[in-house]
Symmetry: C3
Subunit: 226 residues, 3 copies
Amino acid sequence: MTSKAAVSKKVVIFGNGKFAELVGYLVQQDSEYEVVAFTVDRPFIDSDRLLDVPVIAFDEVTDHFPPESYQMLVALGYLQVNGLRERKYTEAKELGYQFISYVSSRASTWPNVHIGENCIIFEQAVLQPFSSLGDNVIVRSSAHVSHHVRVANHAFISAGVTIGGGTTISEFSFVGLNATVRDNITIGPKCFVAAGAAVIADTEDDGLYIGVPAKRHPKPASTMDL
Amino acid sequence: MTSKAAVSKKVVIFGNGKFAELVGYLVQQDSEYEVVAFTVDRPFIDSDRLLDVPVIAFDEVTDHFPPESYQMLVALGYLQVNGLRERKYTEAKELGYQFISYVSSRASTWPNVHIGENCIIFEQAVLQPFSSLGDNVIVRSSAHVSHHVRVANHAFISAGVTIGGGTTISEFSFVGLNATVRDNITIGPKCFVAAGAAVIADTEDDGLYIGVPAKRHPKPASTMDL
Amino acid sequence: MTSKAAVSKKVVIFGNGKFAELVGYLVQQDSEYEVVAFTVDRPFIDSDRLLDVPVIAFDEVTDHFPPESYQMLVALGYLQVNGLRERKYTEAKELGYQFISYVSSRASTWPNVHIGENCIIFEQAVLQPFSSLGDNVIVRSSAHVSHHVRVANHAFISAGVTIGGGTTISEFSFVGLNATVRDNITIGPKCFVAAGAAVIADTEDDGLYIGVPAKRHPKPASTMDL
């Protein structure tokens, strides 16, 4: 255990796109963790280096960076309404990895805020007292998660979003850039709230919501070409 | 006077709902003040403790926490277009209480910003130089009060709001979550700007404004079921 | 050179309106620079003092504050879709002035962010890693410039704006209060995005965009009465 604790500050990041590059840079600049490698599924490797560390295929990650000695951070965005990030998180978990969460030193949190594993919280994000985040949640820069808000597993809160007090964001839901979600409502599972939308009532599952105030679009969120 | 100054760091908070709980927690965590009790009108007491301090009826608050030795902070939200908060603030003032203002250590202010009494300014709120707030004003997290803005008594600026330079927000007005108010305009008294709305021209008194750009709704703000 | 370096912390600000007053105050309060004067074109002088320093005519600025010994900061807003600020910046450059950039100590930047000359970055603005700003760019308070965003010369990003990752804001464009610009798109040159608008696709040059989602207005941006 001592040995494990000693090495567990070394992290492998899942992803090699611009979002993973961003997260890798921030973890390097602004955390206690050392990024030792990026990993992705073999067909997606287009360069063997990123941010001066190796990019290796996920099917051999345990050979080079075994879960006994390294932690993981899955830094994928909202592709497939967060489904891709959930799958890779689950696959890495099944391999035995533990996960870090990265909370920017410039985010605002309080002692009673709960943050799960494999969460990524960016600069100037606000997590108010009595809020909680599940696992595998992303809160982008300058987003506001108000008091008594609950964000469930695998959700993605985009930059500039404002979520009012007491609201629930259910699993897999995506809230787009600078969108607004009123206080004391529930965003159902797997919803997609479009950029700039203002949701002022509970939403149905798998719904795509657009406009101010937001209305449900006939297309289900899960059919979106993301 | 010495004695009064010595005890005046002890504060009673008016309110026992989620908003008061939030404010109480923040004052405990992030100010020089000690929260000694919550107080509300007797019919609204549903528990005799909140955040580990007593909740007492307002009709006996002066017995336990006299205004000579304790200050007050009325932590009510925007109910009745801020009318409830104004009434309780006035009642407490008539009992002889002085009021603190809570300004989060994570808000951004400058020496020439004026902040009245019984104001509550949350994390990441920005009060730019040459702005001023009257008394009993609330500015929620991540709201932006630009340069040369004047916010009058009893107004409520919600989370994520952006107010452009030189604008006036008149008494009792409410600006909803992530709404936008253009520069150099006047929001009249007792207006209600809906979540996500963008107001780009002066508004009429008691007006309800919705949409981008915002239009006046036929219903007066004062009839809203808040 | 030593002598020049020694005096180059003294700055003349071009402008004498409320925006220049704001910038002057912030530079005084929150930078290593000393504001020694304001300068504007002679017909616009309405007072010979501002913030306790002289206001002098631009046609005599080199007599009193020669470019060998003083730097310049052009603190004009978005008049004429940023055209006025560009012209005065160019005129000052032709006189031989070097320019400072003011980056608020309360803005969030990272080592790999590029910021050009004569830029002004306000409180709580976020410039994410891998973003870059050209010259003569203004980023107002609480605006979010996401990762891999490029903001070209002479652009103006208003307070509360959210710009998604990988997007390009072209020269002279103006993005209004609390507007949203989606990730991975291009705002063409000299565009005007209205307050609260949400732009979710590439825009045409000189276009005026309004609403959520934003649509092009028939009027060109350059005809706006700003």
